[in-house]
Symmetry: C2
Subunit: 233 residues, 2 copies
Amino acid sequence: MLKYEQIASRISSLIEDGHYEAGDKLPSVEILKTEYDVSKSTIINALKNLEKEGMIYQARGSGIYVRNPKRDGYLNLFTADGFSDDLKEHDVTSKILKVTEVKPESYIQNQLKIPENETVYYVERIRYVDGKVFCIETSYFNKNVVLYMNEEIATGSIFHYIENNLKVKVGFTDIYFKVDKLSKDQAEKLELSEGEPSLEYTQIFYTSTGVPFDYSDITFHYENSRFYIPSIK
Amino acid sequence: MLKYEQIASRISSLIEDGHYEAGDKLPSVEILKTEYDVSKSTIINALKNLEKEGMIYQARGSGIYVRNPKRDGYLNLFTADGFSDDLKEHDVTSKILKVTEVKPESYIQNQLKIPENETVYYVERIRYVDGKVFCIETSYFNKNVVLYMNEEIATGSIFHYIENNLKVKVGFTDIYFKVDKLSKDQAEKLELSEGEPSLEYTQIFYTSTGVPFDYSDITFHYENSRFYIPSIK
C-alpha cells in the first residue's frame, strides 16, 4: 500500500468506527500533514481518494466534511473500478459461459474504435455475490490493450488482471442504464421469471489516454443489487 | 453567464458540432489561455465544468481528451444538479399532489439531522418530460435551509429556486437506488400496471458546508427514463 493509501485507510477507519460522524469537519490539510508526519501532497492524495469513495466532501475554502458512511453491499458507481473492489468484504465468484474471440457488431466496433475486421476477446459470465446471482455480463475487450484472455483470467477479477498484470492505467468510464423486463434467456440465467424487472447497464472503460478497451453489457438481478452514487456539485 | 461558463459552452459546442471527436486531444491549458485570451484559472474552471458534464477527461500529465457526447434525454447522475438541468432542451412540467408541513418519520429526521419535533416542507409531485410521465417524487425539505415553500415554487424547478432565490450553495448529494416492482398506488400515478418494473431512487442533497436540506424518494417510469454516469478513476 502506498503512503497516501495508508493514510486514506486510517482516516476511513476513524469514520467507520464513528470517531467522526457525517457533517463533522476534519482537521485541515496542514494539521493532518503534521499529525501523520507526511508531505502535503500525500495528504491531498489521501483526501482525493476518500472523496471518490464518497467518505468526505471538500468544500473550497470552507473545509473538509465527513459524509455518511457507505452502505455495505452497495455498488459505488462514482468511481471507475471493477465492482469486485466495492464488494471486497463479500465473496465474488463467476461462472464462465464463454471465452472466445469474435468479430463484434459494427456498433461495438465503433464504441471500441477498432477497424472492421479486427477481432476482440468476448467473455460471457454469470457473477455471484456470497453465492447469490448478482448479474450476467457480456464483455468485449480491445486486444490492443487487453493483450490476452483465457478462462482462468475471466474466473477472477478481469479488472485487477488488466490493472495489475497488464499495467493498464484506467482513466474513465461511461455508464448508461435503464430499467426493463427480463427476456426468457436472461431470466433463466438469473434464476428469475421472464418479464420480471431488470437493470440493463452498458459500461465502456477507457485508458487514461482515452483508448476504449472494454465494452460490457450487464443485466443485474433486481433483488440482489443495490447502487450508490456519491455525487458532487 | 460567467467568463468560464462562456468558454465551457464554446468548447462544448465545438465537441457537439463534431469539430472534436471522442478520443481527440484538446489543446493544452496554456494554448487555450492564449486562444481565448483569459486567465489560466478561467480555463481551469471551464475544463472542470466540462469534465463534470462528462464531455472531456483530463489525464494527469498527459493531456485533455474529448469523450463521447452526452446522449440526449439521459439523466447525468454524476453531478448534483436538479434534473431539469439535464433535460433543459425538453419540456419539464410537474403536477403537484401535495405541498404541506409535516413531522417526518424518525428515519428522515435522522437523514436531515433535525430535532424530533421540527417540521419540514413536504412536496409530492408527478413530473413529466415532453408530456410523458417521468417520475413520482416525494421530498422533505429542511426549513433551516429551505426557508419557504409553496405550490407555485413546487410547480417549477425547486432546485433553481433553492440556488437562485435562496442563494443556497449546493455541495454534494448521495444517491441510492435499486430496481423493484411497482405497487398499485405507484403504478396508477405512473400510468403503468402493478408489478411492472420501477427504479426506486433516494437522493439526499447537502449544502457546501455539509447540511442536508432535501431528502427525496423518486420512482421513475421505466420506459421513459434513461441514465448516464460519466465516472472517472
